[in-house]
């Protein structure tokens, strides 16, 4: 079984202006979303309280809200259905940093007339912890980006590294835009999703870049665009297969993984689609953009091989005792 015709080379580079237009629009839309609507930080980052409750029957949300509003002083209170209509989450911001009070008792007491329920989960996060998590998350992303930038620059060339980072940032931006648009809570799980998208997108890009590098070394063409087309076409069936399988996994996670990881998997779905497309339509054209010089690269590789051979020769002479 196979998906793509064998020898066909698709002209991806001719499509790049169209791709630029679409990507540009999407990126601008995401930036606008992030500025206009922003991200909805979950209590992991903003500090506050989240309580998850399961009722034996349909949860009377309006009644719950009313009881809580009357009974206590909760800032930014929100009561929402969670997964099914008998399960709800109650969320409010932490008003002070004293979180020692037994909040589940308070809630049980306030809501005792609303039906039979079980408190399944209580999360209370102080504001200081949230700030620290935010900083650490930011650090994790920055450090991994820098480390990867260095690795790719060493293994490939700095233009490849720049293109890869540009692509990754594009994917992260699109994912964040989707998180904002779909109103997914930004918590530790969502952060993990964004970081996975980052890793996945790089993975995809690196594999295509590897093929382009190989093409540059072996092809006799002196123009980059046809080499890119050949390389992307050659890796196309791998790209589609792997992305398809990963996507299938995450879709299964979304439908069967339960509401706890719904946000996580939704963010991943968007990220994987963005990551796959961008490795073809953003990363590769970006090499043209950064003015990658084939002859120069070939000369450098040639020099490298020459130096290696020279060193081997010297060693051989040395071992023979000629030096």
């Amino acid at each position: 079984m196979q998906f793509f015709s064998e020898k066909k080379v698709y002209d991806f580079m001719r499509m790049r202006f169209g791709a630029y237009a679409i990507t540009g629009f999407l990126v601008l839309a995401c930036i606008w979303l992030l500025f206009d609507r922003g991200l909805q930080y979950g209590i992991d980052f903003s500090g506050g309280t989240l309580i998850q409750m399961k009722y034996e029957e349909k949860a009377p949300i309006p009644q719950i809200r009313e009881k809580l509003e009357l009974g206590g002083d909760f800032q930014n209170l929100s009561v929402t259905e969670f997964g099914s209509d008998d399960e709800i989450t109650i969320r409010f911001l932490g008003s002070n940093d004293n979180i020692n009070e037994n909040i589940s008792d308070t809630i049980s007491e306030l809501l005792k007339d609303t039906g039979h329920f079980e408190i399944r989960r209580v999360d209370v996060v102080g504001p200081k912890v949230g700030d620290e998590l935010k900083n650490k998350g930011f650090m994790a992303i920055s450090v991994s980006l820098i480390a990867i930038l260095i690795y790719i620059a060493l293994r490939f060339e700095w233009r490849f590294a720049m293109a890869a980072i540009l692509t990754t940032m594009h994917d992260v931006l699109i994912t964040l835009g989707a998180i904002s648009l779909l109103k997914i809570d930004v918590n530790l799980d969502t952060l993990a999703a964004v970081l996975t998208v980052l890793g996945y997108s790089l993975n995809d890009t690196v594999i295509i870049f590897d093929r382009i590098r190989e093409g540059v070394k072996t092809s006799k063409k002196s123009d980059l665009a046809p080499i890119i087309n050949e390389s992307v076409s050659a890796t196309l069936s791998r790209t589609v297969l792997t992305s398809g399988l990963t996507l299938a996994t995450v879709v299964i996670l979304y439908f069967f993984g339960g509401s706890m990881i719904e946000g996580f998997s939704l963010a991943m779905i968007v990220g994987i689609i963005a990551g796959t497309l961008s490795s073809i339509f953003v990363a590769s054209p970006a090499l043209l953009w950064f003015n990658f010089k084939i002859d120069h690269y070939r000369q450098k590789e040639l020099d490298k091989i020459k130096r290696k051979q020279e060193a081997a020769k010297q060693r051989a002479l040395y071992e023979k005792g000629s030096i």
Partner: protein
Amino acid sequence: MTDKKITYKFWVFALVLIFGVAFSLPSFLQSEKGKKINLGLDLQGGLYMLLGVDNEEAVKSKIKSIASALNYEINKQNIIIDELKISDTSIDFRLFDNLDVEKINAVLKEIQGLEIKNENMHYSIALSAAETKATYDYALLQAVETIRNRLDEFGLAEPTVAKQGDDKILVELAGIKTQEDEQIAKERITKAAHLQLMEVDEARMPMAQTLSQASAAAYGDVILADAKNENIKYALKAIPVLDGSTLTDARVAFSQDQNTPIINFTLNSQGARIFADYTEKNVGKRLAIVLDNKVYSAPRINERIGGGSGQISGNFTPNEARDVAVALRSGALIAPVKLLEQRSIGPSLGSDSIEKSMIALIGASIAIVVFMMIYYGIAGIFANLALVVNILVVVAVMALFGATLTLPGMAGLVLTVGMAVDANVIINERIRELLREGKSIRQSVADGYKHAMSAIIDSNITSLVTAIALYTYGTGAVKGFAVTTGIGIVVSMITAIWGTHAMFDLFMAKMMKSANTRLWFGYRRKI
């Protein structure tokens, strides 16, 4: 002899397979024997707490206990000073007599880690920078140790108490099932249990109700409230006669007259000596028994109390008394801890999560396995075998290293499954390409692996770099995710590259003979 080739790759893969099966089995069977994978609290239910240690308090308390010791020596050696005064970070006093200089220097020399300023017999003593740092570190370690002791007395199965960063402690209690248990555990853990015996300043007592904390400090006093009635205030000498660091034991007993619970405590020899000396010299005065800055009682000293034991009475309920005794005997927290973060997950939610993520994991695996088989034929079966071994080894490694499997970790495992096949997809695509070019099967397999290698290694290393960064800077969920993906990537290098290669080698003779590329690689060679 056939052309069956058993290479070193085969042996490595076989070893990995045996390792994976052997050490993942206890986790899958949930048997008691052997090391099992730890389930995170989100998967089994329980209480998670992040506590902040108040370092500054540790320094304050250290200053206080140095002041107590100094005060004792000064009285004992009849060194004449104006009043000893303490602030949060320093001790101040002035000598009157030149002859005492040597005596006081000898006393100060005995105490380590001080920074002493002396201007015209005006002494100002603070902790040195190194000692301050050491005090911070000690406070954290001591708190971890103390909380562990207290939880041991609580009888919980497997409490985790670990320090996090410079001033935080992570506590995980898997055995907590009810809200009452949760409440008791929280109270026990966060109770400072800081016992102090303090002299009542009789001269200032009449003004205690109205005196502000600042003006009391000017007299070298503090104002503390009664444990039962906030409105009753005591004026006490700020430098305690004794503090809890000399305590060796505390037990619940019942008073004879009212049959109410009291706590008997025992002091070590140094504490007993100071206690005896003090009570001998101060008969008729009142001594306040202060626990966590609340006055429990202030009995009048009737006679010298030798033997180094005393009691705290104060209308305890039996449960309260038991908790206080546990806290006292397992040690006071030098620095109080504050709850920064608390998460509790009910057991029913935990099992729901396990069930759902298992369904997702198995579902995704089946989808991939079936697809690979259809798409790549026998080569797909090889890849599937490598994939299964990969999952087993990840579980085995996590069990051996005591890593914790969390919900995001499960998601990471599901994702590893998706990405682990990538290497085999790359390899198989390369093999097909070479077959298309008309190379022999043997040549195609050998070169396919060679050509695919740089792409696989580069992509795996970039993924590994991200996983390491996540592990280093991440906390909780992110860390759990990084662990499973990180181990998955490393293991897949062996299983997906060597394992499948070994299987190709093993069947090479058969493949060459049949030459049915459709069967072996899911691709019909057009000739």
